[in-house]
Symmetry: C2
Subunit: 218 residues, 2 copies
């Protein structure tokens, strides 16, 4: 890894990058629902909760804030989700990219799964930017954070902005007890997305999530 | 209330205000730890957790993320805090300004309590701006949100930025299931800070919180 490959958002340089970034609409909605993962294995769950809330998907009841509703890292396990994956499964082993897609697929959203190894750097950058420019889409990355020289390995977090001149993406790290949001060079991010997840034996990658289009007038 | 008195951060106008705001250093650290209040009465607790984490105060253990640490709306009730206020007290009745100051005072921070009624608009604006310009301080507002024409009444939330030309403060509303962060005119905010809290029979106001200065070389 080259030095300067990571710039944290809460530094002078990081906030400057935010100001000059061209693609950052997602930041306002995703950052509004920024979460800390509840368990060390709940990065995908926390990322999903941020994305679902930021898309204003109808949330299950949460007795503690009734009559308001919101997705939490507990109530995201709806009856439909539980048919596929239980809190215990996630607590013990986290999620692979496909397992997280499966959880989201059981909710009221459209999910698309992109394996990092299927896309070269240019195509990967293109898809990420297109999705960031789409107001109705959100992105959850599945990356190997060891590639960033960080402690840990596989990790999920939403991405919320892109800086063209610097060719950096803003990763909203849900391990907030560990690291702030961070601007990562596209090339380094791609390196972290193509790594093989030892659990699935497939590459990491990312998910795009969008509200389901309603057909008919029901 | 005049129209245009509230501008939500996740609108085009709100994010424009953010870009042209002069005083916004706190946003990066406070926003990094943005929280949703766990109960309808936990606005002061959620605000305190944001402020403590953003000041990097040593946090109690949280078994779920061991060996990392972080303040949560559960572990903030340390042994010292419990001598003054229990989760049940807060769940049932929330906190007055002085009760929240008392909770924070039991932790490793210096707290100053400002009753809104003791300060006119100009002095209030001055103290808030000075505190926002101080990297080692944070601010928690205690305001009556009915003055903003919002559903509810007494509410705590951190303030994270100030826009001079518009004379607006950015309130990071912890009732995230209800409202986004919001730019409020200083005058309207002052109106909401001078209101009497029926529980304490004193005015609302705000707290400033700073890490304790260490004496000696221990």
């Amino acid at each position: 890894m080259k030095s300067g490959d990571l710039v944290f958002l809460d530094t002078a340089e990081g906030s400057e990058l935010f100001h000059s970034a061209e693609v950052k609409n997602h930041f306002w909605s995703v950052g509004r629902y920024f979460e800390t993962q509840l368990f060390l294995t709940y990065c995908g769950i926390a990322s999903s909760v941020m994305v679902l809330n930021s898309l204003a998907i109808d949330a299950p009841e949460d007795p503690q804030i009734y009559p308001y509703t919101m997705f939490t890292q507990e109530n995201i396990f709806t009856h439909n989700v539980l048919q596929r994956r239980r809190p215990l499964d996630v607590e013990m082993g986290g999620n692979t990219l496909e397992q997280l897609a499966d959880i989201l697929d059981a909710l009221d959203v459209e999910v698309e799964t992109y394996f990092g190894a299927d896309y070269d750097l240019n195509r990967c950058r293109e898809i990420l930017i297109e999705s960031l420019q789409h107001d109705g889409k959100r992105i959850i990355l599945d990356f190997n954070r060891r590639v960033f020289n960080e402690e840990g390995a596989g990790h999920f977090s939403p991405v919320a902005a892109y800086h063209r001149a610097e060719d950096r993406f803003l990763v909203m790290d849900v391990a907030r007890f560990k690291l702030p949001p961070c601007w990562v060079k596209a090339e380094l991010l791609h390196d972290a997305l193509v790594e093989i997840d030892p659990t699935s034996q497939k590459s990491r990658g990312f998910l795009t999530v969008a509200a389901k289009e309603r057909s008919g007038t029901a």
